[in-house]
């Protein structure tokens, strides 16, 4: 049984079948839509470049071929790992022999009513209806999601204000210098990026800041991070600590695995516990969890090099590895000023990650390889 019908859950279900599991397979999802892809929501869907149907991950024939009992529009409401039973919100109970939990995350919200968030297809379509030329949009949070949405809204002709509590957006992930390059992209286009600004609440006029000032807006988008969907696991027997706590095999309890945004697992490549909200990780971890569930005698530790990308204006940002908590950043190829560069991130004595903008793929692959083998900083960077 797989709980969660987005990228990780779908990858898990497909892998179970590909690896030869031919028993009953149930895939539960709380949204009514068939599995779809989320990264385009803040890009091609918000900009209306794509019709919504283009985000569907698998054609109906491909889903049929999976021979899966698809239970859409029903959330899981409880789990008992001793009993091996999942309870669903419609009151039914589903027994399982093996379980993969991929219930993802939901957006954090702010006090007050009327703000948009951007996580689901419905969220994206609602917001898309409301932004257009001359509209005043306030985006709270200049992280990757907020920055992408601001970039799209700007292109659609909206008057965009981007409010960010940190002094330099994304500095805790990408470092101050790279963060300033990303900030400049907003400022150069006339997006009103205001940093060091804390929003207290959403109001009818717009948002009220911590110092009492009101920033007026026609629409407000709140993009201040996510919370793992774990409340339904209370009393389940699984350990929850900012995500479902798993070992290096993604196992959370006997024959119960977790994958995707909701899973906190020990990544042996970096020697640390992590929870990754990246599209690529969802698929890779769904596959890894499925394989380990099916082959208990030949389990493999899940030790990926995390990867993410972000499209902001004409910039494609790509990063490999684990950038958070870095102690040093160095530009190792290209120039920050030219918007074409690779930045390397040191944690301890090793190369823990790289971030690139506008560089050829072969250059990037070389640096990724350095992260994948856990290269010493002095060897990789000098």
């Amino acid at each position: 049984m797989v709980v969660g019908a987005s990228a990780a859950g779908l990858a898990a279900a497909e892998t179970l079948r590909r690896e030869g599991y031919d028993g009953t397979l149930t895939l539960v999802g709380d949204e009514l839509h068939v599995p779809y892809d989320r990264p385009p929501l803040s890009k091609q869907v918000l900009s209306a470049e794509w019709p919504p149907g283009r985000v569907v991950l698998r054609a109906p024939t491909e889903l049929d071929a999976l021979e899966v009992q698809l239970r859409l529009g029903v959330a899981a409401s409880g789990l008992d790992v001793a009993d091996r039973t999942v309870c669903l919100a419609d009151g039914s109970e589903v027994p399982y022999d093996g379980l993969i939990v991929a219930t993802g995350v939901r957006p954090r919200r702010l006090p007050g009513e009327g703000a948009h968030v951007l996580r689901t297809l419905d969220d994206a379509l609602t917001l898309r209806e409301r932004i257009g030329p001359g509209q005043r949009l306030v985006v709270v949070g200049a992280g990757f999601l907020g920055a992408e949405a601001a970039a799209v809204a700007w292109r659609l002709g909206a008057r965009v204000t981007l409010l960010e509590p940190a002094r330099v957006p994304l500095a805790h992930v990408v470092g101050e210098e790279v963060g300033r390059v990303l900030s400049r992209a907003h400022l150069e286009r006339g997006v009103d990026l205001r940093t060091g600004v804390t929003v207290a609440e959403v109001t009818e006029e717009g948002v009220r800041l911590a110092d009492g000032e009101v920033v007026e807006a026609d629409e407000v988008l709140v993009a201040v991070g996510s919370l793992p969907n774990v409340e339904w696991l209370a009393g389940s027997g699984l350990t929850v600590d900012d995500g479902i706590v798993c070992d290096e095999y993604c196992e959370a309890a006997r024959d119960a695995y977790a994958a995707g945004d909701v899973a906190r697992w020990h990544n042996p490549l970096f020697g640390m516990s992590m929870r990754i909200e990246h599209r690529t990780n969802a698929a890779e971890q769904g596959m890894a969890a499925a394989r380990n569930l099916l082959n208990p005698g030949a389990r493999k530790a899940f030790a990926p090099v995390p990867y993410f990308w972000s499209d902001q204006y004409e910039m494609k940002i790509q990063a490999y590895g684990y950038l958070r908590g870095h102690e040093e950043v160095r530009v190792v190829e290209g120039e920050l000023e030219e918007g074409r560069f690779v930045a390397a991130y040191r944690t301890g004595e090793r190369l823990n990650g790289v971030l690139a903008v506008g560089m050829p793929p072969k250059v990037l692959r070389g640096w990724r390889q350095g992260v994948a083998v856990g290269a010493a900083w002095k060897d990789a960077v000098g």
Binding site: W309, Q318, P360, P361, K362, R365
Partner: protein
């Protein structure tokens, strides 16, 4: 089996090249992937299926013919 790539969907992650370097490559100028060998031999099909599964844009298909 025929490998199909929906180029406008590609996000230039290069995951396919890592999974199946015999079958995929990326353009230097923008990193968009292209198919090097559209009808790969049997022994690399598992690698192609891996690429289909991990492509973060769901841009690759392996079609029967």
């Amino acid at each position: 089996m025929r490998v199909e790539l929906d180029e406008p969907k590609c996000v230039a992650s290069g995951q396919c090249v890592l999974a199946a370097p015999e079958v995929f490559d990326q353009r230097d100028e923008d990193g968009i992937a292209f198919v090097v060998d559209g009808q790969p031999p049997e022994d690399v099909l598992d690698a192609v299926r891996e690429a289909v599964a991990i492509c973060p844009a769901a841009a690759i298909r392996l079609a029967e013919r």
